[in-house]
């Protein structure tokens, strides 16, 4: 005999049914309200591990000469002045130097240390806040934000990922594992633009089908479905939404050919630069979270090992103009105060220390003790103790320097370390999302920052 009252029974069964209806769909458990300072985020992802000592945290400069001892070298570039008196950054970033008064430079980002280095794993950790493997599929930060705040414009995908080709050979699976909405469901996953030059094409009917045929096909399709007695509203809405999005005025934001030539050229350092321009256009048109990556491909771009010095010159050239122009454009358009721009990387680099100082992990680079050819100059290892982060807009302080690393190797953080959890909490805080905002999945809580424990770095806010 059941002692439950009828009401209890109905309650239990109705609950079970709803759970079944929605599958394992995550449920938001709302946290306390925070006044949002930003509506949108642009994440400029320096994929592959940007050497902080060659960019935003320059140390003593030692020019190359044959026979130079590797452990004598900290930076392979001289420092330059910036618009802020107490901030010096690395040569090659002159344009960013001029806009340092618009934002904050954080030099004490303590990224995760996961032992034997694997880029895709550290990137997974940075983007989701959780190191894999995980027992539930962890959502990308962009998906969390898209899910929590929704799109700013229904005709614009909330989460756009620019610049990463996801089929890159050996580490493709590692990239796919975190470029997803995980348990939040594919609706919140990224809209991929692997190459900004193809952005316009990906948001209009394929050239091969053509606009006329595309429109006719849709018209007759709807007639065909109308003629059937079997209807599924959810499918109809999804198909309608896709067509509306492809035909909406917002879709023009994807077309870089509509950008005035003069403006386009200011960004055009290549794919990354064009990605920055695209990000600006998308945010202007209501995107919520846009990531622009310098792209991760093993041993390319910021994954600087041999020829590190020469490679860093090229990488700085690719980011310097577009990053500064993005900030200027957002400011000119009055968008910077409501858009948080974050530039970050999965870890920093050092020529001697692999991983965390004092920890023995497998060296992945054979750095000779004495340099015999230029390719040894700036031949970096992976350094997980410290990385540099730039933050602009969204209520972040202007012309501010936060955190400090030691001037001698190992260049540890000596002031104000900021973990991934805390940096994420800061980003979420700017958006009005509490760090312990959680989704219920498999009946257990899953927090936007690891275990809900991230703490926003309040001194970064104006």
């Amino acid at each position: 005999m059941f002692s439950n009252t009828r009401r209890d029974f109905m309650k239990a069964s109705a609950g079970a049914t709803l759970a079944a209806l929605t599958g394992s769909e995550a449920r938001l458990v709302a946290g306390p309200a925070i006044e949002p300072r930003a509506d949108a985020v642009i994440l400029l992802w320096m994929a592959g591990g940007m050497a902080q000592t060659e960019t935003f945290d320059p140390k003593r400069y030692t020019p190359y000469e044959t026979g130079l001892a590797s452990d004598k070298v900290l930076s392979t570039f001289p420092s330059i002045d910036t618009a802020v008196d107490n901030i010096k950054i690395s040569q090659g970033l002159e344009n960013v130097a001029r806009i340092m008064d618009r934002g904050t430079l954080l030099r004490s980002h303590r990224v995760g240390d996961l032992g034997f280095i694997l880029h895709s794993r550290h990137q997974y950790h940075w983007h989701t806040g959780y190191a894999p493997p995980q027992s539930v599929a962890a959502p990308h930060m962009g998906a969390m934000i898209s899910r929590t705040l929704g799109p700013r414009n229904p005709d614009m995908p909330a989460f756009v990922d620019i610049g990463q080709n996801i089929e890159i050979g050996a580490e493709s699976d590692g990239l796919k594992a975190f470029h997803t909405a995980g348990f939040l469901g594919s609706e919140h996953g990224p809209f991929f633009i692997p190459d900004p030059r193809d952005a316009a094409a990906s948001t209009r009917p394929s050239e091969y089908v053509g606009a006329t045929r595309f429109a006719e096909r849709y018209k007759y399709y709807k007639e065909l479905v109308e003629a059937s007695s079997f209807q599924q509203d959810s499918l109809r809405r999804a198909v309608d939404n896709a067509h509306r999005l492809l035909n909406s005025p917002a879709a023009k934001a994807f077309d870089l050919s509509l950008e005035p030539q003069k403006s386009f050229e200011k960004y055009n350092t290549g794919r990354f630069g064009q990605g920055c321009l695209l990000a600006r256009r998308l945010v202007e048109n209501g995107a919520r979270f846009v990531e622009v990556t310098s792209e991760y491909i093993p041993f390319r771009y910021w994954d600087t090992h041999e020829n590190g010095h020469t490679r860093a010159i090229g990488m700085k050239q690719s980011i310097d103009m577009p990053v500064s122009q993005l900030i200027r454009d957002l400011e000119d358009r009055g968008l910077l105060n409501r858009t948080l721009v974050v530039l970050a990387s999965e870890f920093g680099r050092d020529m001697i220390c692999e991983g965390k100082p004092g920890q023995e992990v497998k060296n992945q680079v054979d750095q000779p003790a004495v340099m015999t050819e230029p390719k040894h100059y700036g031949m970096h290892r992976h350094f997980t103790e410290a990385g540099s982060v730039l933050l602009f807009g969204g209520g972040i302080k202007r012309g501010f320097l936060y955190g400090k690393t030691a001037d001698e190797r190992p260049c540890r953080i000596v002031e104000n370390p900021v973990t991934i959890e805390d940096l994420h909490a800061t980003i979420y805080h700017a958006l009005g999302i509490a760090p312990d905002t959680k989704y219920e999945i498999e009946k257990r809580p899953f927090y936007v920052t690891k275990d809900g424990k991230g703490r926003p770095v309040m001194p970064l806010f104006a």
Partner: protein
């Protein structure tokens, strides 16, 4: 008492009030509150209290409630999947019933305690033949409902073929089945579908891959091992489920699937709750017992009754050492445990502390005939797969209450008595009248029939191939074979359609249509290619892919000789395929000393005219310098016309320039020679037959329309539909390839195609 309430509730559904806490609140919290709550709710409208929500809700008057209107016309929620029809109906009823509001949380778990032992209840006495139907008929009778009429033959055939082979039925099979007058033809159909072990295994392997988190070729530079060869053989050879479980839990021979216990491991340090043996505990408990130990791998669970110690004890059956120290939230506790099965009452103790004995004990414990949970969990998963909803609704929480405990118990006992035969179970279900009830998306608390199910990513892709005759190929080494979708790596399309990244156990696929998914279907390259090739094939205009004359296989450096017969060749096509270069643009690849020879002498190919105008220059491969090499950009075709020149032999080498041997270029290419323009989707020789015979090509609009309707929707078009299809297919009176693509697209986007009705 239980039955009585059920009967009352289900026969008079409107009397069962919608419960705010369990039905409405979760939707408000997840879909409305993100914008409509807090100090500055969007549009000044908040869903936080009843008082605030009454601005848009007229209790008792759904028609006059703005909230419902906005939901119904699709304006709200503006992001994410639209609310399902069932959810909209819940809102409507809730408002009609007065929009009651409680601030309480849902009631806690019921007093239901799931049994552990096998239970074989007697069959209800009624006239039904299939035992499942005896239970279902009794349930319907108690609810005062008639047993619903079954699906017609065509849709039944479609459902069964999708459920057993994973694709829509072929045209011939449909015609034959409809014409068949045998009263037992449905049973015979199920038997014949199950008898085709290749097609059966090619469908069910996706279910098992999700469950056992197996994905061939997916790796994270850590340890992970595919179990595909074992799994495919187990399905094709009807390996009993208890034997499969034993092999997974206690891999002994080299062919056994040790990848399951190994788990998914990325290189580097790992958290205590994700060590391979903790993963093994979590996975085995979830897969075989329907128990979630994920919480209890870190601390005593607060979502179920399981404790940290129990997780560690189960893990100790799989760990290197028999003694494990409990680590609570990454902090060592000083407490230890040895191996013990999660349910010691039915567990088998290891004979010794050796890993072999502990694994052996694990296999004996899970698959212990006295452990009724083992069979119940599997039976419930198969029921969910075939009916869309489990007898215990949440298939991963077998401690929860089933809607018919007797049915679940009987099925599980019967399955165990029939040697844990998976095909026996499918046959029992698929030959029931319950299985033949038309699908419905209506909310169910008990059983009313199958839930409407959407095609899975693999079913959709394989069905499109079935209908058009165009299959993708899977390549290994020199040869390629036509492939079912499961054999291929996931694509943007299949990922959008819910094929999971199998880092975790997946027991339920996402099946809601979403905008991002629709974008892939409406405008994605993956489908566009399939449509184009499919249309060409249906028209008989897709030429057989030419066979290559030379295939260098994958190369990363150095040179390889080439010496092939080119007698009769009219053209020479040279192609360098990217096999995974980090930087294809900077990869230097070349055709070296390429020479054509014939009765009239020898000619250097580089000296011949070519409209491709390749770059000719020096290339150094393995320190040997070759002058006058044909430098070939990766991914570009070079063609030389050689018709009438009488050449019979092509010699030389292919090589990769030493200049591209650096870590950031990391060359990896494959050189091919063809005598016709190659099909870049088919560079390798495709051997074997496609998974199903291709339909006969036709250019006749009426035939194409008729066959595509039957293929995609399992019915013929009515007059209106024929007219619309004609407009798509033959805009100016003649069938065009583009028109055919559009018709195929319109049919595979049709709800009748995308759902198992």
């Amino acid at each position: 008492m239980f039955r009585l309430i059920l009967a009352l509730a289900s026969s008079l559904p409107l009397l069962a009030q919608v419960d705010f806490a369990t039905s409405i609140h979760p939707i408000l919290a997840s879909r409305c509150a993100p914008c409509h709550s807090g100090p500055a709710p969007r549009a000044g409208f908040s869903v936080e209290t009843r008082a605030s929500i009454l601005r848009a809700v007229q209790p008792g008057k759904p028609d006059q409630s703005l909230l419902l209107k906005r939901i119904k016309n699709g304006e709200m929620p503006p992001s994410g999947a639209a609310l399902s029809d069932a959810e909209v109906a819940l809102f409507e009823r809730w408002i009609a019933e007065g929009a009651s509001w409680t601030d309480t949380l849902p009631a806690g778990p019921t007093e239901w305690v799931a049994p552990l032992k096998p239970i074989a209840p007697p069959l209800p006495a009624n006239s039904m033949a299939n035992p499942i139907d005896k239970f279902i008929a009794a349930d319907f009778a108690k609810s005062g409902l008639a047993f619903p009429a079954p699906l017609g033959d065509a849709l039944f055939l479609r459902r069964a073929t999708l459920d057993i082979w994973g694709m829509t039925p072929a045209l011939d099979a449909t015609r034959k089945f409809l014409a068949d007058k045998d009263p037992d033809k449905r049973e015979k159909l199920i038997d014949s579908l199950l008898a085709d072990k290749t097609r059966y295994a090619a469908h069910w392997i996706s279910f098992w891959n999700d469950l056992l988190r197996n994905d061939q070729g997916v790796n994270y530079a850590g340890t992970r091992k595919t179990i595909t060869p074992w799994l495919l053989a187990a399905l094709e050879n009807d390996r009993p489920f208890n034997e499969m479980a034993a092999a997974l839990l206690n891999p002994v021979t080299a062919d056994d699937p040790d990848g399951f216990l190994l788990g998914v491991n990325w290189r580097g340090d790992i958290n205590a709750s994700q060590t391979p043996f903790m993963q093994a505990a979590q996975n085995s408990a979830q897969v075989f017992l329907g128990v979630n130990l994920k919480c209890a791998s870190c601390h005593d669970s607060f979502i179920n009754k399981y404790k940290l110690r129990q997780s560690y004890a189960l893990a100790a059956m799989f760990s290197d050492t028999a003694d494990l120290e409990l680590v609570r939230c990454d902090a060592k506790t000083g407490k230890h445990t040895g191996p013990e099965f999660l349910f010691p009452e039915v567990g088998v103790k290891p004979a010794s502390d050796s890993l072999a004995d502990r694994r052996k004990a694990a296999a004996l414990s899970f698959a212990n005939p006295g452990n009724g949970r083992f069979a119940r969990t599997l039976v419930n998963r198969y029921w969910q797969r075939l009916f869309g909803r489990g007898i215990v609704a949440n298939v991963d929480d077998m401690d929860a209450q089933p809607w018919d405990p007797d049915l679940l118990n009987w099925l599980a006992s019967d399955f165990a008595q029939h040697n844990y035969d998976l095909k026996y179970l499918i046959r029992l279900i698929a030959t029931s009248r319950a299985y033949a009830i038309p699908g419905s998306s209506a909310e169910q608390t008990d059983f009313r029939g199958p839930k409407l199910r959407r095609l899975t990513a693999e079913q959709l892709a394989d069905s499109v191939s079935e209908i058009t005759g165009e299959w993708r190929v899977s390549q290994s080494g020199e040869n390629a074979t036509y492939a079912r979708e499961w054999e291929l790596k996931s694509t943007p399309l299949t990922r959008a359609l819910g094929r999971p990244i199998r880092d975790q156990v997946f027991t339920t696929r996402e099946d809601a249509p979403t905008t991002l998914q629709a974008l892939e279907l409406v405008n994605g390259d993956t489908l566009n290619v399939v449509l184009k090739r499919g249309a060409l094939r249906l028209l008989g205009e897709l030429p057989e892919a030419p066979q290559n004359l030379f295939d260098s296989r994958q190369m990363g450096k150095g040179a390889k000789p080439l010496d092939i017969d080119v007698t009769g060749a009219k053209q020479l096509w040279l192609y360098v395929d990217d096999a995974g270069c980090y930087d294809p643009a900077r990869t230097v690849a070349g055709w070296l000393d390429l020479t054509l020879a014939g009765p009239s002498g020898k000619t250097r190919v580089a000296s011949l005219p070519s409209i491709s105008k390749p770059k000719i220059g020096a290339l150094t491969a393995d320190k040997v310098k070759f002058e006058g090499a044909i430098l070939a950009p990766v991914g570009a075709l070079i063609m030389y016309p050689i018709d009438g020149l009488g050449f019979t032999r092509l010699t030389g080498s292919v090589g990769i320039g030493d200049a591209s041997r650096s870590s950031d270029i990391s060359p990896s290419v494959r050189f091919f020679v063809f005598q016709e323009k190659p099909d870049l989707e088919r560079l390798l020789r495709v051997s074997g037959a496609p998974p199903t015979p291709a339909p006969k090509p036709s250019r006749d609009a009426k035939v194409l329309i008729d066959e595509l309707f039957w293929g995609a929707l399992s019915r013929q078009p009515n007059a209106t539909e024929s007219a619309i299809a004609m407009k798509l297919l033959a805009k100016n009176g003649t069938v065009t390839e583009g028109g055919l693509e559009d018709l195929i697209w319109s049919l595979i986007m049709h709800p009748e195609f995308q759902y198992v009705q």
